[in-house]
Amino acid sequence: MAHRVLICDDEVHILRAAEFKLRRAGWEVEVAGDGQEAWEKIQSQPPDIVVTDYQMPRLDGIELIQRMRQHAPTRHVPVVMLTARGFEMSPEELTQRWRVGAVMSKPFSPRELLRQVEQLVGPVHSTSPGSSLPAAPDQPLERTVP
């Protein structure tokens, strides 16, 4: 069974590029146009990994992650954050406080995004999805990508 990824961004063309790359790599892709829509989809069916933008209408990326970390079924779901913002929040804070697996700055490379996602969850054809999850819930998941 293919891994499920939820991609959340208010820019349609970003969603489309990320979706295209991951789908071609064999991922089952779900998309959301803002944090609120993503949260509703996550609640109904938790994905294996979430790729989210930072600044979005209705519910931003941080609030989305906050809700995920307080919700038992999604507490350990890895997150990749895509952001065009420069200095509101440091990557260290994102990884340590919110346990974000990787932070990628826009403009981003779809190839690099796929690599990060596979590093956090494992390739689509790996036998044990989520094998790269941390042992302890509060431990930072992965190093950041500048």
Binding site: D10, H13, I14, R16, A17, A84, R85, K106
Partner: protein, 493 residues
């Protein structure tokens, strides 16, 4: 006169001798009685006449001296120094024995008069300098009072020596009792007090500036940059030796505005960066997908190329907007005004924003006047202003809402209004919404933006076209932006 005196004296002596000789002759019996007595009588008459002459001469001399001295002492002391003051005195007889004394007296008075005159001149000069100094002090005080930055001086004893109007208002000081108020009794500004004490004790490097927080009488905490220095140094005097002996002066500069500007500039840079990175991200991602041969189908490749093209246009628009605003602000924009129809410009604006309205299911209600509304305007710039206002209304109106655009004639003006059923603005936001880079914090998440659209619209309407752009809003119900422009009478160019 001297001769007359000698004659009188000689006459008196001769007559006396004559009388004495005749009396002797009478006693000796050498002459007949009647003749001798006649001679004695004549001698006595001559003696009496000589005596009367002597007394007359003496009396006239005394009167001349008295008159001279009276005139001398009656002189105005302030005129004694003048060369002609003593020239008009009544003359003394040359033979008067008082003449040398009167002369010495006159010389003494003349010297006194000169000293008095000199003293008067010095006094007048001092009075003039005092007047000038008083005027300079009054002018300096007026300048100090007019300075909008608070200025506060303390003496070596820690008393407030001077506070200008801004300082009195900030520190809530009573103007009548400002001076000689102990520094330590000032409240709400402990950091400032510490600085002044350090400066007056010489423990603060001269000219060093520090940032302090001071709460104004309303309780609002304001940030100030304080320049402190010894008070004596500013007056050119040498400070007294020993700690705590000199005073200090502090000039406070409100840096709240500066800090706000820095913050807004940082926010602007962040917003511009975000706005630029977003289309750039699209371009880079799709170029990579194409370059790596991910898009195998022709249709997909065409779709990706269209996205790249669209995102490049978006980037171009953002840069144009920034440049346009910068040019208008710098006053170097080229304006090409022609007479034309306002409704045509608005219709084109509606066509441009229609896709954005459709994407949010917002109903664009177009209610343009059936009349020809002529404006003398730069068509492209006016269209930019209309698009910015319409885009703003669409951005901050929730899905399913309504944006109405209407135009009308109003006396010598034409008016167009853009009304939305959006989130609305509170009075503070209405006041600041046209400030460059200002974004309403509570609506920040509704849409991305640089905070440039509305300032640019206002520049175009007011600075370029001499019109007026106003906003009326009810929080939670919506906003109406109204543009008033001068009407042009001739259609066409």
């Amino acid at each position: 006169m001297r001769t007359a005196r000698l004659l009188a004296a000689a006459g008196f002596v001769l007559a006396g001798s004559w009388v004495a000789a005749d009396m002797a002759m009478l006693v000796a019996g050498h002459a007949a009685w009647p003749w001798r007595w006649l001679m004695v009588g004549c001698g006595l008459l001559v003696a009496a006449g000589s005596l009367a002459l002597w007394r007359h001469l003496s009396s006239r001399d005394r009167r001349a001296v008295e008159h001279h001295l009276d005139a001398l002492v009656s002189l105005d002391l302030r005129q004694l120094g003048q060369p002609t003051a003593l020239a008009d005195l009544p003359p003394l007889p040359p033979s008067s024995p008082w003449r040398p004394l009167a002369e010495r007296l006159r010389q003494a008075l003349a010297a006194l008069g000169e000293q008095l005159q000199e003293s008067h001149q010095r006094r007048a000069a001092l009075e003039a300098r005092l007047r000038r100094a008083s005027q300079e002090v009054a002018r300096a005080r007026a300048v100090l009072e007019a300075i909008s930055d608070p200025v506060l001086a303390v003496d070596g004893a820690g008393q407030v020596a001077m506070a200008n109007r801004a300082a009195r208002q900030l520190l809530d000081l009573d103007p009548a009792a400002t001076e000689q108020r102990p520094l330590q009794r000032l409240s709400r500004c402990q950091e400032l007090i510490d600085l002044l004490i350090d400066s007056s004790q010489g423990t603060l490097p001269a000219g060093r500036s520090n940032e302090v927080q001071v709460a104004d009488p309303s309780g609002t905490v304001r940030s100030y940059r304080v320049h402190c220095g010894p008070l004596e140094a500013s007056t050119g005097e040498q400070p007294p030796a020993g700690p705590g002996r000199g005073g200090a002066v502090a000039v406070l500069r409100d840096i709240g505005r500066e800090q706000e500007l820095r913050k807004r500039n940082a926010e602007f840079v962040s917003a511009v960066s975000h706005e630029m990175k977003t289309p750039l991200a699209g371009i880079k991602a799709y170029v990579e997908l194409l370059a790596e041969g991910e898009a195998e189908e022709e249709q997909t490749r065409e779709e990706f190329l269209r996205v790249i093209d669209g995102q490049a246009d978006r980037l171009q628009r953002l840069i144009d907007n920034l440049l346009c605003l910068a040019r208008i602000e710098a006053g170097v924009v080229e304006v090409n005004k022609k007479n034309g129809s306002l409704n045509e410009v608005l219709e084109e604006g509606v066509r441009v924003v229609q896709p954005a309205a459709d994407a949010k299911s917002i109903h664009l209600d177009v209610q343009l006047s059936p009349l020809y509304l002529g404006v003398h305007a730069d068509r492209d710039m006016l269209l930019q202003a209309a698009i910015n206002l319409l885009s703003n209304a669409i951005k901050y109106t929730p899905e399913g809402g309504r944006v109405t655009i209407r135009s009308r004639l109003a006396d010598d003006h034409v008016v167009f209004e853009i009304e939305d059923t959006g989130v609305g603005l509170d009075p503070e936001d209405c006041r600041r919404i046209f400030d460059k880079f200002y974004r309403v914090q509570k609506n920040h998440r509704m849409a991305s933006g640089t905070g440039l659209g509305l300032p640019l619209a206002r520049h175009i309407v007011e600075d370029v076209h001499g019109g007026r752009l106003t906003v009326h809003s009810v929080p939670g119900q919506g906003s109406t932006f109204a543009v008033t422009l001068p009407k042009s009478h001739n259609p066409g160019t």
